[in-house]
Amino acid sequence: MTTTLSGFAASAFVASMIGAFAIAGPAQAQTAPASVKIGYAISKTGPYAGGASITTLPNYQVWVKDVNEAGGIMLGGKRVPVEVVEYDDRSNSEEAVKAIERLATQDKVDFILPPWGTGLNLAVGPTFNRLGYPQLAVTSVTDRAPELAKRWQNASFWLGTSAQISHALVDLLAKLRTEGKIGNKVAVVSVADQFGVELINAGRAALKKANFELVYDKTYPLGTQDMQPILTEAMRAAPDTFIAFSYPPDTMAITDQSRVLGFNPKVFFTGVGAAFPLYKQRFGANANGVMGIGGWNADAPALKAYLKRHTEVTGREPDRWASPITYASLQVLQQAIERVGKLDRAAVIKEIHNGTFKTIIGDVKLKDGLLQEVWAVGQWQDGEFYGLAPMNYAGARQAVTPKSAWKAQ
């Protein structure tokens, strides 16, 4: 416990020291409220529940527990516990908007945490903006993020853009080709929704620019779990690299059916879901060598402590992409509130956008409302999903290529 908490305690201590300096005025010291009310509407049911229940909700729970076990958020020289108001948005954007309105006007919460997913975050964006609440839109990947962050000054985006992911992947592939580890042929499949379309559009352009040969390039409808026809065709094109911009159920199906078909490209990359603990649990040793979106610097002590703490509190491991970033965004929120020293949302928004924060993913400093360092490509290596690209990040591992052939399971 002590080692687990030391990372958290240290950052909380630093934050509280800074907070102590910030609240110099004695008048403010007397106005500390009895609690900080935090509200959120999250997809507990409906099609987004699968993502929300692995990446977002557990981190809200872990963070609230961590903050309250430490006494609360430091406000006006005293620790104020966090009180939670929770709703289910039922994976429905109208419900989400209604819930945000309700949290702000009826429950009068001090801060609102964002929903899960690109679609819902974009849907509630105007409401957050109008109500003047900071929106930590962590789990949204869109090429419109820079533009949206400009339009909604209260919002910040934490997973980069689709183009960043595709470009980092192609940079990595180009390096592997230069090293002679892979050839020129790439097969790509993508899910036909906004996420898949943005990734493949950016990816296609980047692959062509880097002179890769696209030997297979198809999309499939959302919800497809029968991948054999697609994989058979991709396999016939004999690619060196196979890329799937996929969602969790299709990611599982693509991996399983590739194994059954004996489809063994040198690089095997899948989309959302590769970074989930479910992937490791489902495929065991066969996960090794698989690349996917996300990754983290698993050797960093703060992340090790986080992994342990998350598993203790929720009974499950976090995913290796947006989970640690979600937790870090909450640390940023807390530190920003403490630095401002009062529940002044406008000032907190300003601090989130301008300050530098100590978090489990390292020092965080947003630029134009966007988190700058986001892992785009990770790879399972000996049971852990390490970040590979962008290759200049601290802790970036070397890719293991070619991926060893699938083993019988």
Partner: protein, 291 residues
């Protein structure tokens, strides 16, 4: 070569569709209950199989022996407690259909809610018999082949039972005309309850077998309900062989389009086929025209 490959993987996929739909055709065709909670029952059996396999090391195939009787009993109970009052007060088929849609819509949320409380929203997936098998030059996965085999066996066995046995004839009589069936001393409510429970057990078989290769979570029931509805209506409501045929056709056309045209058009092809059947044979492929 490619055609054989398409044929085999298409049949395998179609077998899954047929398997998932057969229970619904019994429930809708004979018991006259359009069960909107059908997919939730399927997901519940998938969860049960997952728990039995990962928690107690009971293989999904042995799990069938546990899950199927349980599903039969649970569905019989649902029919007796929840649906019998609706059947009693329904004046004709249309009112029963509307009432049953509303009631099972409620049941959907209850079952889904329980699944969310117990299992949360996250995805579940396990590996069982995910073993490649070389069949006529193409590769199929044993668990999927098994699902096809079950669908075919169950479909044919039940078809024979319905057409060749006395109680099967009673079931068909109820399906054709519940009012007149009473005149020949058939206990309509008991037969309908039996058919509903049997449909529930077949639905559970679908859940157990597809859980071997599909990733599922508590929210996914409605996907199966929709797929099953399409297959049932395409095959002819209440007709098991029709469901088998429609499922296989859908699987074949989907695989054909994915391989030779574009995988992005599989859904479009499915719905085009569905639409064509509705336009040309509104009663379904093997359905009888309503009198």
């Amino acid at each position: 070569m490619v055609l054989i490959d398409i044929l085999i993987s298409g049949l395998i996929l179609g077998g899954m569709y047929a398997l998932v739909a057969m229970g619904l055709t019994l429930q809708y065709g004979v018991a006259r209950i359009l069960n909107l909670a059908y997919g939730e029952v399927l997901i519940a059996s998938a969860f049960a199989t997952y728990v039995l396999y990962t928690g107690f090391a009971i293989s999904p195939l042995l799990g069938l022996l546990i899950v199927l009787p349980l599903a039969f009993a649970a569905n019989w109970l649902i029919y007796r407690v929840m649906l019998t009052p609706l059947v009693k007060r329904a004046r004709n088929r249309v009112t029963l259909e509307i009432d049953s849609i509303l009631a099972t819509f409620g049941l959907l949320f209850v079952l889904q809610g329980i699944a969310f409380v117990v299992f949360g929203g996250q995805y579940y997936s396990y590996s069982y018999l995910s073993v490649p098998l070389h069949l006529g030059g193409s590769i199929v996965s044993v668990n999927r082949l098994l699902a096809l085999g079950f669908a075919a066996a169950l479909g044919i066995a039940l078809y024979l039972a319905l057409t060749r046995t006395r109680s099967g004839t009673a079931i068909r009589a109820v399906a054709v005309d519940p009012t007149s069936a009473q005149l020949v001393a058939i206990n309509v409510r008991r037969v309908a309850g039996f058919a509903f429970a049997l449909g529930g057990a077949m639905c559970a078989a679908g859940g157990v077998l597809t859980s071997m290769f599909l990733t599922f979570n508590a929210a996914m029931g409605v996907v199966f309900t929709m797929k099953a509805l399409i297959v049932v209506i395409m095959g002819g409501v209440g007709n098991l062989l029709g469901a088998l045929l429609a499922g296989l056709l859908l699987g074949l056309i989907e695989t054909f389009v994915a391989r030779l045209v574009d995988p992005g058009l599989t859904l479009a092809a499915n719905f085009a086929l569905f639409l064509a059947v509705l336009l040309i044979r509104p009663q379904g492929l093997l359905g009888r025209r309503a009198s």
